[in-house]
């Protein structure tokens, strides 16, 4: 149906489009529709942003305001006490360092290893290429929980249980395939002529990869790295299962423990929200700065094929 339409209509659209559009703008119905559209956009924006606002409001409010009814929608008495509490808690700071070590190592290893595989998958045609790609995709969405027991045993046998390398090794299982999948779609978008030019100029395959393709893929590498860092930063199940000492906790385990360590009636929401904001704001800022690349990374492998 769509095919027949596109074949018949082009000549007509050229003439009708301007008049249709100017007419649409003037009618009251169109104005109402426009207002409704903006209302919808504003509603969506509020829906997306409100929880973050509420976390910030809670973190900046004094305790009696946090637990008061009716609720205050803006803090009446600002306080940075909750931020002080979080920042002066050595276990919280330790968990940030742990998360940075784990997230950084996993990202560097998987982007380094993944770039080669992604280059091959994105640029060369070989037998079983698409099968390999889907195998890699399958691995990145494989349920972590299904291998929890085996990993637990493996880590105990190798004495890695309750160490940070345990998390680095196990996070690679789902982050490495993800990196390959995302990077492959970035490599695929680069123009073929560049490699041909490099090879005519006498560059070897490795030189082409390091000197030509990698610099061009830099934005893609940056976006993939951020996505990998977020995935590692976000992981909870393995971190909860494989680390028993609080000195090895990562951020998610630490934050979920702020609420759990006290009695159910007095969850220290101010401290918990302050700690959450401290780890949340840098990531949000980074994501917003790199938003174009990140959207391309998230949607690249899926839509263009």
């Amino acid at each position: 149906m769509t095919n027949t339409l596109s074949r018949e209509i082009p000549a007509v659209t050229g003439r009708t489009r301007p008049s249709a559009r100017s007419r649409r703008r003037r009618t009251p119905a169109a104005r109402v529709r426009r207002v409704l559209l903006y209302l919808l956009v504003v509603t969506i924006a509020v829906f997306l942003i409100f929880p973050v606002y509420w976390a910030a409001k809670t973190a900046l409010s004094q305790d009696q305001e946090i637990y008061a009814t009716p609720a205050a929608y803006v803090p009446h008495h600002f306080t940075f006490q909750h931020f002080n509490n979080a920042l002066s808690d050595p276990r919280f700071m330790r968990s940030i360092v742990n998360s940075l070590i784990v997230g950084g190592s996993v990202t560097v290893i998987s982007v380094f290893l993944g770039a080669f595989a992604a280059y091959a998958l994105g640029r060369f045609n070989f037998r079983g290429r698409s099968a390999t790609r889907y195998l890699i995709l399958a691995m990145s969405i494989f349920p972590n929980i299904a291998i929890l027991g085996s990993l637990y045993k493996l880590l105990t046998v190798t004495h890695l249980y309750n160490t940070l390398p345990a998390l680095i090794a196990t996070y690679l299982i789902f982050i490495l395939p993800f990196t390959v999948w995302t990077l492959a779609s970035f490599f695929q978008q680069l123009p073929k002529e560049l490699e041909e030019a490099a090879s005519i100029d006498g560059a070897s395959a490795m030189q082409t990869f390091w000197r030509v393709m990698m610099p061009l893929a830099a934005p893609g590498l940056a976006a993939t790295s951020i996505l990998a860092v977020i995935a590692a930063w976000n992981e909870y199940l393995f971190a909860l299962s494989f680390e028993s000492d609080s000195s090895n906790w990562t951020v998610p385990v630490m934050i979920s423990n702020i609420g759990a360590q006290s009695s159910a009636y007095t969850i220290p929401w101010g401290d918990e929200m302050a700690a959450s904001l401290i780890v949340m704001v840098p990531v949000i800022a980074l994501v917003l700065v790199l938003q174009r690349r990140i959207v391309a990374g998230l949607t690249g492998g899926s839509v263009k094929e």
């Binding site: 976390a55 609720a71 990531v283 949607t299």
Partner: protein, 276 residues
């Protein structure tokens, strides 16, 4: 290429095969593990806690995937049509995505609080819809609904981003041509936009379904070890980490993998049919 594949294969396939093997043993992480055949699976059949975890996981998956697909579509169409705010809105879509699960679950737990949560403030003090504050986590159903709202908030933007990317591939001239021919907006959506969006929609559904079937973080943060909200992932974690029942936990893991395989097969069938 090859080293990466080898690393990946060792790291991912070894634990998967040992999980399957261990599911036929009575391994408790202690010392010896004896082959017990299908004993673990026979126990599973009569384990009401296991079936409860299967059902709540499937219900959660069905609710969130359907709501996220519909809302994601509305979000994508709205943003595709708005002129001024596209850049800002796309940035806002990434905000829930950038927040880690444990934190978003905590924020929503605070907002759902029966005593001083903002939702009860709206219902009781502002809108006067009820006199007594609602306990959003009281029953299994209300707990499930509350968790679903959080998941919808967290991941609908992802679905919307995938669909937005898909919408950019729908040629505007076809839509305008249909409009000239007298097709209304609803007709244009169902006859042109939706069929062309089908690949993007299916990819989004696959990702969301597989993610929902292995849900752990949000249930665990909100309800801990509460028995009526134990998902399959939580039940496995309890058996393996808390009770040390490696054999039994592995059997549940295998069933989870099979369940996910069933969903994948259904989707692959759908994708194959839609690309015909």
């Amino acid at each position: 290429m090859t080293p990466t594949l080898i690393v990946a294969a060792v790291v991912a396939l070894y634990p998967a095969t040992t999980t399957i093997y261990r599911s036929f043993t009575n391994d408790t992480f202690g010392g010896t593990a004896d082959w017990v055949g299908l004993h673990n699976y026979a126990t599973l059949l009569h384990d009401t806690a296991f079936w409860s975890s299967v059902w709540i996981t499937i219900e959660f998956t069905a609710i969130t995937v359907v709501v996220e697909a519909v809302l994601g579509m509305i979000l994508a169409l709205t943003l595709h049509n708005s002129f001024v705010s596209r850049g800002i809105m796309r940035a806002l879509l990434l905000v829930p995505f950038a927040i880690i699960n444990v934190i978003s679950a905590s924020i929503w737990k605070l907002m759902f609080n029966q005593g001083y949560g903002v939702f009860n403030d709206l219902l009781v003090d502002k809108l006067h819809l009820t006199d007594t504050p609602v306990d959003f986590f009281a029953t299994r159903t209300s707990a499930l609904m509350s968790v679903s709202v959080i998941d919808v908030w967290k991941t609908t933007p992802f679905v919307a981003l995938l669909l937005l990317a898909g919408l950019q591939t729908v040629p505007a001239d076809i839509l305008e041509a249909a409009q000239v021919d007298g097709a209304g907006p609803v007709r244009r959506f169902f006859s042109i936009t939706l069929p062309l969006l089908r690949p993007a929609l299916l990819v989004a559904l696959v990702f969301r379904t597989l993610d929902a079937l292995r849900v752990f973080d949000v249930f665990y943060v909100l309800f801990g070890a509460r028995s009526d909200t134990t998902t399959m992932s939580i039940y496995i974690e309890q058996n393996i980490v808390d009770f040390g029942k490696a054999g039994y936990g592995s059997a549940i893991s295998v069933v989870t993998m099979l369940l996910i395989a069933v969903f994948v097969t259904i989707y692959v069938g759908l994708i194959a049919r839609s690309s015909k």
